[in-house]
């Protein structure tokens, strides 16, 4: 996926930075979108991440290093942003407008419900879930990214699934 991208250190002064943004924008934006469940804030956060990437390009050794760096910085920024919002609450999740993103799965309502349930999980668990199911990372890679032990990641994934099942069954009862 990243093999066509030149060495990041060579990109600092070139327009190829645009190619780097295009290559990774869906990963960064989707992590932020699924974490914050707010399209405008996700775009803002993703832009900030790429701006930070531009400043640090010289330090990144390879395309793989760029991907690792982007995931780590996005995860940290998402968690910080979520904590900032908790201190200064804006719109509660229930009142937030539905995401305008196109949903292509067979049951769009179910998908949206699941995304909202994920967005209501505790921050660290939410990020573990996103890295596991959006980015398809192994618990070992997630542990490295979030500076956790592999066992913690595995137990948080189990907890997340239990919480999501409980939330889903609660919703079924409400309907």
């Amino acid at each position: 996926m990243t093999s066509d991208i030149p060495n990041p250190a060579e990109l600092v002064q070139t327009a190829d930075f645009a190619a780097l943004v295009r290559e990774h924008q869906s990963m960064v934006f989707s992590l932020a979108l699924h974490f914050l469940h707010d399209r405008a804030s996700a775009e803002e956060l993703a832009q900030d991440v790429f701006l930070q990437l531009y400043r640090h390009l010289g330090e990144l050794k390879s395309p793989e290093h760029v991907v690792y760096w982007l995931r780590r910085v996005t995860a940290n920024r998402c968690i910080s942003e979520s904590r900032r919002r908790q201190r200064r609450p804006e719109v509660p999740l229930e009142d937030a407008p539905e995401s305008e993103a196109p949903k292509s799965e067979s049951d769009p309502l179910a998908g949206e419900r699941l995304r909202r349930m994920v967005a209501s999980l505790p921050e660290k668990i939410r990020m573990v879930v996103l890295l596991r199911y959006q980015e398809d990372l192994d618990p070992e890679d997630i542990a490295k990214l979030l500076a956790m032990s592999v066992n913690t990641v595995k137990s948080q994934l189990q907890r997340a699934l239990v919480m999501l099942r409980r939330k889903a069954s609660g919703m079924e009862l409400e309907r």
Partner: protein, 113 residues
């Protein structure tokens, strides 16, 4: 993989941001490139420029005054040291004279006896 995990994978698929996302990132990069660094802003801001000049002047004048004061103290110390040495030399000579006198008196009284 259980059904919930499959649903999660499906629901959390990557999505693209708005069409002008890359252009907006590049515009912000350009904006950042044009923005002067904090130290050049420090020296070019009108109010801060004068404050910086005043602070630098105070530092330079203060440094010169401090150096002169140190030199003056060193010179005074040197003079005081020389005065002490002279006083010690004079005192030493006087003691030697007194010793000679005492010796002469003692010699004379021994001869008389």
């Amino acid at each position: 993989m259980d059904p919930l995990e499959r649903e999660l994978k499906n629901a959390l698929r990557r999505e693209e941001p708005s069409g002008d996302f890359t252009a907006r990132v590049l515009a912000r990069v350009e904006q950042q490139k044009r923005r002067p660094s904090w130290w050049s802003r420090w020296f070019t801001a009108p109010g801060l420029r004068w404050a910086t000049a005043v602070v630098l002047c105070v530092l330079v004048v203060g440094g010169v005054v401090y150096q002169r004061e140190q030199a003056r103290r060193r010179a005074e110390g040197e003079v005081a040291r020389e005065q002490v040495m002279l006083a010690l030399r004079i005192a030493g000579t006087k003691v030697k004279l007194a010793q000679d006198r005492v010796q002469q008196m003692s010699d004379r009284s021994t001869r008389r006896n």
